[in-house]
Amino acid sequence: MTDLTLRLEGICKSFGSLSVLKDVDLDVNKGETKVLMGPSGTGKSTLLRCINLLDPPDTGRIWLDGREITAKGINVDEVRSSIGMVFQDFNLFTHLTALDNVRIGLVRVKGVDKKTATDMAMEELRRVDLAEKAASYPAQLSGGQQQRVSIARALALKPRLILFDEPTSALDPELTGEVLKVMSRLAEDGMTMVIASHEIDFARSAADEIVFMADGRIVEKGPPDVMFTSPQQVRTRDFFRRIGERH
C-alpha cells in the first residue's frame, strides 16, 4: 500500500448516451511507467482526463497517494497541481516565454517567490536540455522543443504523477526522438508516469507495463515483452500486429 501512487476503481464515464469508460480499474505504483495503448476512440484521453479530474468520472473512485481525490470536499485545483499533464498539442501558453511557461505555476499556484521560482524553472529547463531557450516564445520553438518545455512545465510543480496524452503524435517523425529520450530519462529517474502512446519501441524499453484498452475497457495488461510477443487476447494480438505492420 505504501508505494501505491494511483488507484482507479470502477471508473465509468459517459458523454450523453455514449458510454466511453466502462468500469476501469488500474493501480500504478510509485516509480512505475504504464503505457496505455488501444484503438482510436477507445477512451485513453478520457481516462487520463478523469485521473486529474479535468473531466471527472461519473462513477468510480480515484486515490492519489492513499487519499481519495474523488471524495466530496476535495480541492481539485490542489489535486491537479500535484498531477502533471502533457498534451498532444503541447498547449504552451503562447504569450509567455519558455521560462515563464515553466515558472507561472510555481508563482501563481504554489506561491513561490519569483527568484526561487526562476531558479527552479531554469533547473527544469536544464533537465529537458532547453536552458538556452529560456527566453524564447513557443512560436519560436520547434514542436519537439515545445513539447519538452511542456514536460518541464509539468515537472516544475514536483508532481506525484505525470500523465502524457500521445506526447509525440503531433510531431514530425524526426522530432519524436528528443521527446522520447527525455521521457525515458524520467522513467529511469523513477518518475511515476501514465502515458497514452503508440510508440512501440519506446514502450518496449521504458514501460513497466503495457495496458491495452478497447471500447472503454482494459482488455489486457502485462510487461511489454509478454504483451508484444504473446498476448492472451485476440483483440490485443490483432492490434499489435496491425501497428507492428505500420512500423
Binding site: 498547449n91 501558453f93 503562447t94 512560436a139
Partner: protein, 219 residues
Amino acid sequence: MTSFFEYAIEIAPVLLRGASMTLQIVALAIVLGIALGVLVGLARVYAGRTAYAFCTVYVEAIRGTPLLVQLFLLYFGLPSVGIYISSFWAAVIGMGINSGAYQSEYFRGAIQSIRSGQMLAARSIGMNRRQAIQSIIVPQMLRRALPSWSNELMYMIKYSSLAYMIQTPELMAAAKEMSAQTFRTFETFLLAGLIYLVIVAIVSRALMSLENRIKIPGL
C-alpha cells in the same frame, strides 16, 4: 476680411480649448468602455446564465439604438425622473456605456479565438478558473482584441462630436459657435476637421507602436 491663415490663428485658442474637452471626454469614456467591455466580454463567455442574459440585453440594446438617442436620454431624459448630470458627464457616461457594448464584442470574439487547450493547460497545473482567466486568458485576449479595439478608439474620437448636441463645449461645439459669430462657416469647419485629423493621426501612430511592442515574437 483677414486671410484663412490669420483667421485660423485667431480662432485657434477657442478651437483648441474645445479639442482639449474632446480629448478629456474620449479619454474618460474609453477607459469606462474598456472596463465595461472586459467585464461584459468575460461574463458572456464565463459567467452563469443570468449574467449572460443581463449582459446580452445590455449589448443588444446599446448596439441596436443610435448613440445620439442614448446621449439625449441621459442628458434630457434623466432630469424628468429627477436625475441631473452635467453635459460633460452625460457625454462621458453615454459614450463609455456605448463603447463598452461594442468593446465587449471584440473581447468576447478574442476570447473565443483562443484555443481551448490554453484553459485546459492552465487548469492542469492547478490554476483555478479565476487564476486561469487572469493569467492566461486576459493577456491573450487583450493582444488579440487590440486591432479592432484601435478602430473603436478612432470611431470614438470622431463620434465624440455628437456631444455638441447635448451642449458639451467640445471641439464641434466650439466650431459651431465660432462660425455663428464670424459667418466663416467653411473655414471654421475645415479647421475643426483638421484638428480631428491630427488627433486621429497621432493616436493611430501611438496604437501602432503599442501593437508592435506587445506583439508576441514568432507569432
